[in-house]
């Protein structure tokens, strides 16, 4: 992997792509906060230019075989220079395209979804801030730069989750997300420092080159890889830091679609993929990653099986799909993991945006309510949602099928059958919870008179609202089309991605036919079970899990992870550490500072009073002082 300097034209293009959303953010914050249309226009304009730039770049570099790097230096002071630059390779170009496409579609969709909100301009400003940070993150040439934008992405996530800050739960959720991801980031930062100390720089290409093994011992590589993986765990909401993501659903739905499913949470996986060769040096680290991915995948699938909140289900599903990606990557399937990231970005964003239409229309998150109020009458979102759910469950011919197949093949290639078993179990669970939601909405069991009335009301409603629903419908259709088509681009994408890894041999997956049949039939089995329990006419709409109270409450309470954290916080942090600190703060620090401050103010008052004296005394002081100064010489 050699780096070649890019032509100036491309650098300019990349820079414009990266920086324009930031300009939009500044303009909106400073000038156009009062003018909503202009704010939205600025933001969408900036992101469309970024989209065009991304498409231009990926088309220009479609035959790329070596990484292209542009590095400049940013002078901080006379001695310290921090390299900044762009790294263009198949991975970053692909991610850039995903990010800009989804950003663009979500911003269009938000025109309808956020219409009439008081914070409309603020919303678009934050969206632009996020777009800037995320695009720059994907293009970063060094881990330091990546880290900066990593944090900025976290910041914009915090701002957008707590967007409706008047709502207590929303600002609480924002805080929770911020703190929990920060925990992971501490590990990430430590990992970076470790690498920096041993390697001397944080250049991604250097880190990925084979020479790393010569400089760092295997133990060190494992340790730093695990620490960096801590950042991945935080950002991608993996076990044990997974509980912030469901809470993050307090934000507006388009935000959930963009940040908390398609792009931001995928940044963790992106980082993993970015440093894939580095991680590959340590088998131990890879195994730990595999385990974490598997546990998160299974845990969150079970949580999704009992939730009534439509967005929560997709949030859990996001965690589990991210778990799949990490499993794929950790099993050595670079292309499989990244491919699943790509397809997932499409269909998960679609799922959220569809749910957004329902939530917008019926003003409830409860899937039973939505079903009762006639959710199935909204044709376009319903069809799109079914397509996306099918992709999510891995049913052919939708995109999720192809990418999930690749991951399964990778898992089958591993020596230990436990990973494959877990993965296949996940397939069943995924199909179950995805279609549970669909069937509940499509086949509501309690349509009564009231609901029928509402039906007609909804119809009237639909017509009046059609004008601004169009903005919301188009992105859905486009994403649905992508979901249908993307899977067939597998070969092309594979070629594009593996060009980068020409040096590193791809672990060949098992392309055995039986696996294909097993996983598809498991998905179908999940579908059938759901049909039996929720879909058919006489179904009680109570899942088999819900029949076992212990299991149900275990899943509903998120395996008691949150409670455990709460206990830990109460006992160790609040009563232990924080209590001591408070005492110290009150008695020692405050006391002494108060004394110093009082002393300062008192002496100030005294000196100030001295200046109010008569002119004679002032002159006297003058002469005496001069006299003593002169006298001092003789000693």
């Amino acid at each position: 992997m050699t780096s070649t300097p890019i032509s100036n034209w491309t650098v300019l293009m990349t820079a414009v792509t990266a920086v324009l959303p930031f300009v939009a953010f500044l303009l909106i914050m400073v000038f156009t906060r009062k003018n909503e249309r202009l704010s939205a226009g600025l933001s969408i304009g900036a992101v469309s230019v970024s989209l065009a730039g991304a498409l231009f770049l990926i088309i220009q570099y479609r035959h790329l075989t070596t990484s292209v790097q542009y590095a400049g230096k940013w002078l901080v002071s006379g001695f310290i220079t921090i390299p900044v630059g762009f790294l263009l390779d198949p991975l970053s170009l692909l991610m850039l395209t995903i990010v800009t496409v989804i950003c663009f579609l979500v911003q269009i969709y938000s025109l309808g979804y956020m219409a009439g909100d008081r914070g409309f301009s603020r919303y678009y400003a934050f969206m632009s801030l996020f777009a800037w940070a995320m695009i720059s993150l994907t293009l970063s040439a060094s881990l330091f730069q990546l880290y900066v934008f990593w944090e900025l992405v976290g910041l914009s996530s915090y701002l957008l989750i707590g967007f409706w800050y008047e709502k207590f739960s929303a600002s609480e959720a924002g805080k929770k997300a911020f703190v929990m991801t920060r925990l992971g980031d501490v590990a990430f930062m430590l990992g970076l420092l470790l690498v920096l100390m041993n390697l001397g720089n944080l250049d991604i290409l250097k880190l990925n080159s084979p020479m790393v093994t010569a400089v760092m011992s295997p133990g060190l590589i494992t340790l730093s890889a695990l620490l960096i993986f801590g950042g991945v765990v935080g950002k991608s909401a993996q076990f044990p830091l997974l509980t912030w993501l469901p809470d993050a659903m307090e934000g507006p739905t388009p935000v959930s679609a963009l940040l908390h499913s398609a792009t931001m949470v995928a940044a963790g996986v992106f980082l993993f993929a970015r440093l894939f060769p580095f991680f590959s040096h340590s088998a131990t680290a890879m195994t730990v990653c595999l385990a974490v991915g598997t546990i998160s995948m299974l845990l969150s699938s079970t949580m999704a099986m009992v939730s009534r909140d439509i967005k929560q289900v997709w949030a859990y599903s996001t965690i589990s799909q991210l778990g799949y990606m990490i499993m794929g990557l950790a099993a050595g399937g670079y292309v499989a993991g990244v491919f699943h990231l790509t397809t997932h970005a499409g269909f998960k964003a679609l799922l959220f945006l569809c749910s957004g239409v329902f939530i917008h229309q019926y003003e409830t998150n409860d899937m039973f309510d939505i079903g009762r109020k006639g959710g199935r009458h909204l044709k376009t979102p319903m069809i799109c949602m079914v397509i996306a759910a099918a992709a999510l469950s891995g049913l052919p011919p939708f995109s999720g099928f192809f990418s999930k197949e690749m991951i399964m093949a990778q898992l089958a290639g591993l020596g230990n059958p436990i990973w494959l078993t877990a993965g296949l179990a996940g397939v069943f669970l995924t199909a179950y919870y995805a279609f549970r939601l669909i069937f509940i909405i499509v086949f509501p069991k309690e349509i009564n008179d009231e609901a029928a009335q509402e039906n007609s009301a909804v119809h009237g409603h639909e017509e009046t609202e059609h004008h601004h629903d169009r903005e919301m419908a188009w992105p859905l259709v486009i994403l649905a089309a992508i979901t249908v088509v993307l899977g067939f681009g597998k070969k092309m994408l594979q070629g594009f991605l593996s060009g980068r890894l020409a040096g590193v041999e791809e672990m060949a997956g098992h392309h055995s036919d039986w696996l294909l049949y097993v996983s598809v039939s498991l998905a179908v089995l999940g579908l059938v079970v759901t049909w039996m329990e929720f879909g058919r006419r006489k179904a009680g709409q109570i899942g088999f899990v819900e029949r076992i109270p212990a299991l149900k409450s275990l899943f509903l309470e998120r395996w008691y992870i949150d409670r455990m954290y709460r206990r830990l916080l109460d006992v160790v942090i609040y009563r232990g550490v924080s209590n001591i600190c408070t005492q110290n703060d009150n008695r020692v620090i405050d006391g002494s500072i108060d004394a110093v401050c009082d002393g300062t103010v008192k002496s100030g008052r005294m000196i100030s009073d001295l200046h109010l004296s008569m002119i004679q005394y002032k002159l006297l002081v003058m002469f005496v002082a001069v006299f003593f100064l002169a006298l001092y010489f003789f000693f």
Binding site: T600, V601, S603, G604, R605, I607, S608, H611, I615, K618, L619, V621, M622, F623, A625, V626, L629, A630, Y632, F633, F634
Partner: protein, 473 residues
């Protein structure tokens, strides 16, 4: 035959003051016309000084020197005058009939200060210093509402006169002991005779005159009263242009001592510490904004002394840099003060409450200026302090820098009190939005930009002040 071209800035300002002298004798001249004339003349003055910046030469049998050092300070002085004139749209603090005199005295004072920074002979130094002082005494008297201005003016005059007397005595002693009055000659002799008591006492006495100008302890007693009682524009002038000139002449005189002696350094260190501590402590409890700025000026005089007493090229150039930063930061504070108290009255800090809503740009400018004065990066004030402290550290004055740092922390307290008033406090009664003319907004914007740009890219100014300081050694 003397080369008169190099004297042109002084000529120009002589001309300007003559114009205003004539105007003061005419009846019926409108204040707006006067203001406009002054603005044009002052802006041309900046241009003249800028054009002459690279000139060098000697005049008046070598008693007067034009070099980069003096020319840089002349540019700063003319800028100071121009900026002060910019604030004179409503000259409410001074009676209408005194307006021509006000402009005359301002330009005469500027002329005197320009002569001061170029003087290289004890006599020319004395003459220029007195000329500038007398203009200022009178300017302080001009405050409308009789007793106030008179009281402060008289104090100013009495302290100034005593300081002059001491200084004159110092001149006499110095001349009597080494028999030369040209600074160039003194520079050659003085470092060798610094251990003689009479020389050192002469030096102490001689410095008092400049300490008075800069408001260094124990000659700072005039500052709070004069700042408080003079008209706002006059205070602005005293706090900016007059300080710049005082720093210039002090650098020139201290540079005479070469590497200095332990005693001289001790004396200056003592004065510097006492000055900044008194200034900062007294400022903490002030309620009147101008009085607070007066004590802050005293404290800054202490900081500047640190640079000067380092007696190295780095020290002198840092002091020059600091002079420029003080000029900008103090002026910005006064710009806000003058614009907020449009009827020319004094301003309490609590009157600034709600400023960020009444005029965001002024509040912003005030905040940046105060941050600069407190030495918060990335403002020009931070860079200035950094340079000064670095120069002192190079000489190994660790304790001095430490004490200065503590002082900076104390100063942060009262600067932030003002920022708090402007941004966080709600006014007691609802105040209307301030009517700030566009030109002032632009000026405030430029000042903000300048303070930040000077903090982030100080390279050019540092280079310039370094070359200027080189001409002294």
């Amino acid at each position: 035959m003397m080369n008169w071209i190099i004297f042109s800035p002084e000529f120009y300002f002589l001309l300007v003051s003559t114009v205003f002298l004539c105007l003061s004798m005419m009846r019926r001249i409108k204040p707006e016309q006067l203001y406009f004339t002054a603005l044009v003349l002052a802006s041309v003055g900046v241009g003249v000084c800028l054009a002459c910046v690279r000139l060098t030469g000697d005049l008046f049998s070598g008693t007067y020197r034009i070099d980069l050092f003096s020319q840089v300070f002349k540019v700063m002085l003319s800028m100071g005058l121009f900026l002060v004139v910019c604030l004179c749209t409503e000259l409410e603090g001074i009676a209408k009939r005194h307006h021509p005199e006000f402009y005359f005295l301002l330009s005469a004072c500027t002329l005197a200060m320009m002569m001061l920074v170029s003087s290289v002979h004890l006599l020319t130094v004395y003459v220029a210093l007195e000329l500038s002082s007398y203009s200022l005494y009178t300017l302080v008297f001009l405050r409308k509402g009789r007793d106030r201005g008179v009281d402060a003016g008289l104090k100013y005059f009495l302290i100034g006169a005593s300081a002059s007397a001491l200084m004159l005595f110092g001149f006499a002693l110095l001349y009597g002991s080494i028999h030369v009055a040209y600074l160039v000659e003194i520079l050659k002799i003085l470092p060798k005779v610094l251990n003689r008591p009479v020389v050192i006492i002469a030096l102490i006495l001689l410095l008092t005159g400049f300490f008075f100008k800069l408001a260094v302890f124990p000659f700072h007693f005039w500052a709070p009263d004069v700042y408080e009682s003079a008209a706002n524009q006059v205070t602005t002038y005293i706090a900016t242009a007059s300080k710049v000139a005082a720093i210039a002449i002090l650098i020139r005189i201290v540079a005479l001592a070469g590497d200095g002696s332990a005693y001289l350094v001790h004396m200056l260190v003592t004065l510097s510490i006492v000055t900044m501590t008194i200034g900062n402590l007294a400022a903490v409890v002030q309620k009147d904004f101008k009085r607070l700025l007066a004590y802050s000026s005293v404290a800054h005089a202490g900081y500047v002394l640190i640079g000067i007493l380092s007696m190295s090229q780095a020290g002198y150039s840092s002091a020059i840099f600091y002079a420029l930063s003080i000029l900008m930061m103090k002026f910005t504070c006064f710009l806000v003060l003058v614009k907020v108290s449009d009827d020319g009255r004094n301003l309490d800090i609590e009157h600034l409450a709600g400023l960020h809503r009444r005029s965001p740009i002024l509040a912003m400018a005030l905040m940046m200026a105060l941050f600069g004065l407190a030495g918060i990066p990335p403002t020009i004030g931070f860079t200035g302090k950094l340079l000064i402290f670095t120069a002192a550290m190079q000489k190994g004055y660790f304790m001095l820098v430490l004490i200065a740092m503590i002082n900076v922390v104390i100063s942060l307290y009262y600067y932030l009190l003002v920022v708090r008033a402007a941004y966080l406090l709600e006014p007691k009664e609802q105040l209307p939005e301030l009517q700030v003319p566009g030109s002032i907004k632009v000026l405030a914007g430029l000042l903000i930009f300048g303070m930040v740009a000077g903090g982030i890219f100080p390279q050019y100014i540092i280079e310039l002040s370094r070359t200027a300081a080189m001409t002294l050694m």
